[in-house]
């Protein structure tokens, strides 16, 4: 399968929209195919890789932290980076810097980085294709 470079722009914050469930499913497929993937995490999505996210128990369902095994997007981001690498691809995950600053989420999953709209422009220019997943 020929290698491709894809760019995806995300906007939704964690835990608020099914857009991210679908986005991560798409990204996972691309990572398993060994593609190079650029992610521009804009606005609320700049919190997806915030390393201080913590899982929690579920008292309504009577599950402790371990049993609930609550997803965190930071773990999904880390897993995505690992999957790409395992399959011969790479992920360049950019968290929009001003978005990070105003949200106070300036600690990222290792392997992701701070960036700016100039990165999104560079991604778009260098990619085989671009998908923007807007927020509502």
């Amino acid at each position: 399968m020929p290698k491709k470079t894809l760019t995806i722009a995300l906007m939704d914050p964690p835990y608020e929209s099914e857009n991210l469930t679908t986005a991560f499913r798409i990204l996972d497929i691309a990572a398993r195919r060994g593609y190079d993937i650029n992610v521009f995490a804009y606005e609320g999505a700049s919190g997806l890789a915030f390393v201080r996210q913590m899982p929690h128990p579920n008292p309504v369902h009577g599950k402790d932290v371990a049993e609930e095994n609550h997803p965190t997007t930071k773990d999904q981001v880390a897993a995505l980076l690992a999957a790409a690498e395992q399959n011969g691809g790479k992920v360049d995950w950019v968290n929009c810097g001003m978005c990070v600053d105003e949200r106070g989420v300036n600690e990222f999953v290792p392997g992701t980085r701070r960036g700016s709209p100039a990165d999104f422009h560079a991604f778009a220019e260098a990619s085989d294709n671009v998908l923007v997943i807007p927020t509502k």
């Binding site: 804009y42 100039a118 999104f120 560079a122 923007v132």
Partner: protein
């Protein structure tokens, strides 16, 4: 030469007071400054961004006062005049919302819904915001 990108913007007045901008128009302006070649189509409620003389004074919450309240019409003019980003509005969406063409800021171009598919062919990328 950058890839020509058509950006269809429909999200309107989402967090504009907090961000003091529409974050999509802001992003496109910033990318244009980095060398991008963008065109904007305002559709749906976003056609309201092209209405002249809009905006409110800054928010006041307790002793906190906002000093840079946004003005969407000013930002649309900025895109057109300073950033050289062509801006279209969908005429049917104006009509649906009771907006007269005379109310629009200068420089905005009119486009019918039926013409939108044809416009796609002129662009390497089309994004929907």
């Amino acid at each position: 030469m950058a890839k020509k990108t058509l950006n269809i913007v429909e999200s309107a007045y989402r967090a504009v007071m907090e961000e003091q901008d529409d974050t999509i128009l802001w992003l496109l302006a910033a990318m244009q400054g980095a060398g991008a070649e963008h065109t904007v189509v305002l559709r749906g409620n976003a056609v309201n961004y092209a209405v002249a003389s809009q905006g409110v004074p800054g928010l006041t919450i307790g002793k906190w006062k906002q000093t840079q309240a946004p003005k969407m019409d000013r930002d649309v003019l900025d895109l057109i005049e300073k950033r050289k980003i062509p801006v279209y509005v969908i005429v049917e969406d104006l009509a649906d919302r009771g907006i007269e063409r005379s109310e629009l800021v200068p420089g905005v171009q009119l486009l019918s819904r039926m013409e939108l598919p044809g416009l796609f062919t002129e662009f390497a990328l089309v994004t929907h915001w």
